[in-house]
Amino acid sequence: MTVARDGSAIDTEPLIDAHAHFYHAESGRGDWEEVNAARFRAGERIGVTYHVASVLGTYGFSSPTYFPSPTDVTRGNDVMLAICVSEPNRTRMFVTVNPNYTDHALGEIERCVARGAIGVKLLASRRADDPLLDPIAALAAEKGLPILHHIWQHRRREWPSQEISDGADLARLANRHPRATFILAHIGGGGDYMHTYPAIVESPNIYPDLSGSGVDRGMLDEAIAVLGAQRLLWGSDLTMCTGLAKLHALEVMGLSTADMSAIRWENAARIFPGGSFPRCVNISAVHS
């Protein structure tokens, strides 16, 4: 079910949030349970079928959010595994890794995929085109796991607390690993999205997600015009209100039903491992 513009609940087709996060007791914030509950509450209101989520270490509490220590990476992944166990019908997991610790990163991928993780989350611990990302991309390709990579849209300088990458950086990595699939994080998450579209247009294995607090008019239109609906994934990241606004905006842009379905869930279902989203198939069958 999802909420209509008049506030009433309506039947709808599946919706996959390809970019979500959860918190935990060691995240350094006292309201972590409320924030997690709010994500589920808003997800129900929006009609999210699956939250594909990651936990970013301790979110800065005992190591930096974008440079998590191996210990914190493992702790965060354990939390995310536990959430998937307690919420099996609506959560799926990205395993978070820090590519500066290659052995640990590869080990975490193996460990968490064996317990159900369906994708890899890379933060901003190392530039996207750095050779240290190659073994991670190779393993992800071998296992059919998309890599969600944190991105700043058009990196014109360094920003504090992260070693940021942009679409051009990610395209270099994607071009080295044509069998791997990459999700370019949050086109509305800061920076200039108009730079990103041409930077990745010739890298067909990069799929931008639409999340982020940015809701510029023209952002969605250009994404569809340059990249096409078949390469876009719906997502919310830290602002589910802007996610819902973008859904409503897509609804009035004149997209075909097929294109809307592609953005809502079919593209995600295609790039994640087969069978990752069984409820989507069931709901889609009922809806159609």
Binding site: V3, R5, G7, E34, V35, N36, A38, R39, R41, A42, R45, I46, W152, Q153, R156, G190, G191, D192, Y193, M194, S213, G214, V215, D216, R217, G218, D221, L238, T239, M240, C241, T242, L244, A245, K246, H248, A249, V252
Partner: protein, 264 residues
């Protein structure tokens, strides 16, 4: 529902699709928004906004029942008080001012004078914290955000002052609100165009702590998706669903008059 934060005209730092009044009216219809207070976007970047105000009045004239002109007045410009009288006579519910874009600091005396003069004429002073996210600005867009200090200084200027502050986020709203007396707090209204919803639930937290009656509906069209503030209201926790924002008519006498005129 009245949108207090709409604009027409192009933006100097990026292409904005069809920022025209006829399109705005169609968007209001589509989104179920009754009417809008409308400013002239390029005027924020003009040295002298006079020509922009003329263009605004001209372009909104065919839609006077839905779109209410909010002229821009620069208080360090000669004869600004005459422009203010013209705006008041035309029935403007509010006046827009852009201190950062004009190089005015938080204690600028001319801005204080403008706030008092606008209030004495029964209008609201509409301030814009930001046009775009700081992280995406053009290299030449160096004005910076409107500061909390500037807002609280104007709120304290006098009892007649009414401020409508647009595009502020939670931290700024809280800083200003809790730096004011109860009387001063009642002079300030915030639009909800730039406040986060779930999972952080900033809007819900502000409604609970500051009160929904301090907030008004604003979209920031044509720069941002019109659907955003409605989506934010739709995602409020159950106990806040359907909560009423401030009645725009109560902000100031000129606002009440403009709404009445529309209904006629």
């Amino acid at each position: 529902m009245i949108d207090v934060n709409a604009l027409i005209g192009p933006y100097p730092f990026r292409h904005v699709p069809h920022p025209d009044p006829e399109v705005l009216v169609r968007v209001l219809d589509r989104e179920g928004i009754t009417s809008a207070w409308v400013g002239h976007l390029p005027s924020a970047f003009y040295r002298d906004p006079t020509a922009g105000n003329r263009e605004l009045a001209l372009r909104l004239a065919p839609y006077a029942d839905r779109l209410h002109a909010v002229p821009t007045i620069r208080p360090d410009w000669p004869l600004w008080d005459r422009a203010l009288n013209v705006a008041a006579a035309a029935g403007a519910p509010a006046i827009r001012a852009y201190p950062p874009q004009w190089g005015m600091g938080p204690h600028d005396g001319s801005m204080r004078e403008l706030a008092l003069a606008v209030g004495e004429r029964g209008m609201a002073l509409l301030l814009t914290v930001r046009f775009e996210d700081l992280r995406q600005r053009h290299a030449m867009d160096t004005a910076g955000d409107l500061s909390a200090a500037a807002i609280r200084t104007l709120a304290r200027a006098g009892a007649s002052v009414r401020l409508v502050v647009t595009a502020a986020s939670r931290e700024m709203i809280e800083e200003v609100h809790w730096s004011l007396t109860a009387d001063e707090q009642r002079r300030v209204f915030w639009d909800i165009s730039w406040i986060w919803g779930p999972p952080e639930d900033h809007l819900a937290k502000l409604f609970r702590t500051i009160g929904a009656e301090r907030f008004v509906f604003g979209t920031h069209w044509p720069l941002r998706l019109t659907q955003t503030p409605s989506a934010n209201l739709d995602l409020l926790p159950d106990d806040l669903l359907g909560v009423s924002l401030a009645d725009v008519r109560t902000i100031c006498p000129a606002a009440a008059t403009s709404v009445s005129a529309k209904k006629r």
